[in-house]
Amino acid sequence: MGVGLDWGTVLVAALAYLSALFAIAHWADRRAAAGRSVIASPTIFALSLAVYCTTWTFYGSVGRAATLGIGFLPVYLGPTLLMLLAPLLLRKILRIAKTQRITSIADFLSRRYGHSPLLGGLVALTATVGVTPYIALQLKAVAVSFDALTGGGLETTHALFLDQGFLIAAVMALFAIVFGARQIDAAEHHPGMVAAIALESLVKLVAFLAVGIFVVWGLHGGLDSLFAAAAARPDLARLFGGDIALEGAASGVWVTTTILSAAAMLCLPRQFQVMVIESVDERQLDRAVWLFPLYLLLINLFVLPVALSGLMTFGGRVDPDLFVVALPLHGGAEWLALLAFLGGLSAAAGMIVVETVALSTMLCNDLVVPVLLRFRPAALARSADPAPLLLMVRRVAIVAILLFGYGYYRLAGSAYALVSIGLISFAAVAQFAPALIGGLYWRGATRRGAVAGVAAGALVWAYTLLLPSFARSGWLPASFIADGPWSIAALRPYALFGLEGWDPLAHALFWSALANIGTYVGLSLFDRPDAAERAQAAAFVDVFEPATTAVSQASPADWRNAASVGDLTRVVARFLGPQRAEQAFAGADPDEAAGPERLRLAERLLAGAIGGASARVALASSVSAGAVEAAELLRMLDETSDVIAHSRQLELKTAELERATDALRAANERLTELDRLKDDFLSTVTHELRTPLTSIRALSEILHDDPELEPEQRQEFLAVVIKESERLTRLINQVLDMAKIEAGALDWRIEAIDPALLLTQAVAATEALFLERGIVLSVDIPGNLPPVRGDEDRVIQVVVNLLSNAAKFTPTGGRTRLEAKLDGDTLRITVIDSGPGVARKDRNIVFERFRQAGDTLTGKPAGTGLGLAIAKRIVEHLGGRIGVEDAPAGLDAESGKGAAFWFTLPLAEAEAPQGAAG
């Protein structure tokens, strides 16, 4: 191997590159603050996903290819398969994460299973234990590649804590703190970090492709000659045959690795961070679906050629993991070696930064804060703004994780435990996959099932992969693997319960998946989730449904009992301010069950501010375990907007219904009134009929029983009988007329008629009446009145009615006058009397059937009450109007009062031109 580059140059180049990353991140943060975030670009998003490719890819793939041939590929085929599921699976996760404001995968699982702090903490812990050694691997890769590049120059000059590993850890801690934990952002977006990751992804791809092209065409003159040379050596030829990667036990490894890497693509804290948390728009996935797999394909294109070339060039002298740096160096292309080193540095830096930020968020939100809340609530309550405390926790977590990783690197060095950590980490985080995916589609999955599943899976993982890796590193006796603990053969970690002949990874995956999924499904099936869990389950499973059943899931019966006074105070304070909440629930113990009365109070208070439906939702959500978050509440409110829209429609319909009901009620009242009128009419008519009948009968009996009656007396009685009979006939005629008019069965003979003639006839018909009562009837009819349209008999009937009405009400000695005069195109006929007149309020009533002005109860009615009603109907049928007003002054000075009944008739101009008649 060549001398290598001066370590100072490499160090300066590395620091310059990292500074450039800082600058890019800073620039991206500034742009995002200005509202033009670069991370909205789908290409940047796809590139940031490539944080998946760590040094394990950049250096390690070549190492794996050197022993497994194409066996290194499943690690990249798995993510490709997962991305094909993006429209189904990832879309849903992204939507949920956005609506629920998820901050990490631990948070996601905890929320799905009813805000379980236990599950969140378990996931955070498992992820930290499983992934931190992976960080150590990155530190080691940078250190080793640095040595390879510089020829190990620095190794001799540094003290214990001043090696490259520590240096890179320190710089990464700084970067993670500056760009990953500068502020508590509700959305947890880190545009600077993502932009830097995307750039790093580009750098490592370009670096690897450059190295590949240099090796293939620069060192070997093309792919065919490279493969031809390799094919000549049997030990290398087998690397591109199928048997070492695809057959026998290797096929199990292939499948296992594919599944594990697909799960890791989803569940690794850093992948969840860039793919879900940092995603600003779901549609970014559409491009990532093919762009990210394409990236994976490209970065792996030259892995096998580089491995073959390295094996041919160096034999066994150089670790295959370092071929990427060693080959350019060997070929004299030092700048290319430096680029390769920077590519590896990019891979390491990206992984370390995102992983520590994701883990620190998780540790802070799902482990430290819940613990603080439980044991030191005063520390959180004291500060009005908990953000600085949270930031401090996160920064300490970042430093702690990196120190832990560095310590592991120093301790483990080149031990198996470190070298194999890549897939072991995958297997650890894969334990989250059943609860994660199951929680998206299976409403019945419960918290206890998820906690037990993840715990069981993690324990089996630790027993079948982590502990054996310690044993192979020499930290546990080797007999642990060979004979099992305490020499119990059934407990051998690589052959649990005698399952032999499997690859350790496939073996671990089988048992951990069995324990995990079995416990998860089994417990869930026999578990009863509480209301909060059911609400969250519905919110996750039905995230795409227009109106989720989240609200109805938590039925009142469930949450009424679950709410405490503290819950109510919190939710009321959120909408109405703490003061109102304090007033409303003063003097009550916050932990006390709220009870229906306080709930109704809270509901009423909230309904006043946000409406009834929202108030119920707010209350329902206040019961979920732990603090209710505004985002969640808002989401549920969004959902209830549909409910509100429905209730608006309902209100409209109710209003319509009310109007219809009003109309019905009015109609009913009218009917009742008519019914009453009919009864009145019957009693009136009966009365009217009985009076003449009584006198007729009485007189007839007298005449019949007493033949000796004086002839004059007899004559007089007979006259009365005749008169009363006439009255009866008249009454019956009127009733019949009225009935006919009402039924529309009257025969109308409408024609042009001479008003003077019919008025004269009417006067003649009633003259006797006036004479009899001693009333002076004067008639004032102009000579040349034009003809009017009407039915002669009916009009006469009207005039007779009015005249006899006047005769009835005018006192003896009074006066009545009949007038007719032209009024526009109508003839106005008026009957003026000097009677008591009609009070203003009665002027409409008198024209109704059976209604007579005055008190019908005390006084005997003077008529049938049908005369005016019949007159009104006739006049209106003929197209005229009828009314009553005060009599003009001058008719009778004595009474000074009187009524003037008038009606109009249309002139018969069309049929008989004006003046034709006379």
Binding site: P74, L84, S251, F544
Partner: protein
């Protein structure tokens, strides 16, 4: 926070195509099928298995891109 738009879920046709592609790719990436490429011989100087695996992979990516493009 605005109410999430309800029509943003990918078109059903596309989701179905991608699900179909996922199943196809799962089969294509399985050892028995890839093993069919493990024959002697080369494609343009590249061993058949190596070319075959990358070829299948590239086709899957191409189909994924097409599935997203055409409606």
């Amino acid at each position: 926070m605005s109410a999430p738009a309800r029509d943003e879920q990918p078109a059903p046709r596309r989701r179905e195509r991608m699900a179909g592609l996922f199943l196809l790719a799962s089969v294509l990436f399985s050892p028995p099928l890839l093993g069919l490429f493990g024959v002697e011989g080369t494609v343009l100087g590249v061993p058949a298995l190596y070319a075959g695996v990358f070829g299948v992979w590239a086709v899957v990516i191409l189909l994924a891109a097409l599935a997203g493009r055409s409606r």
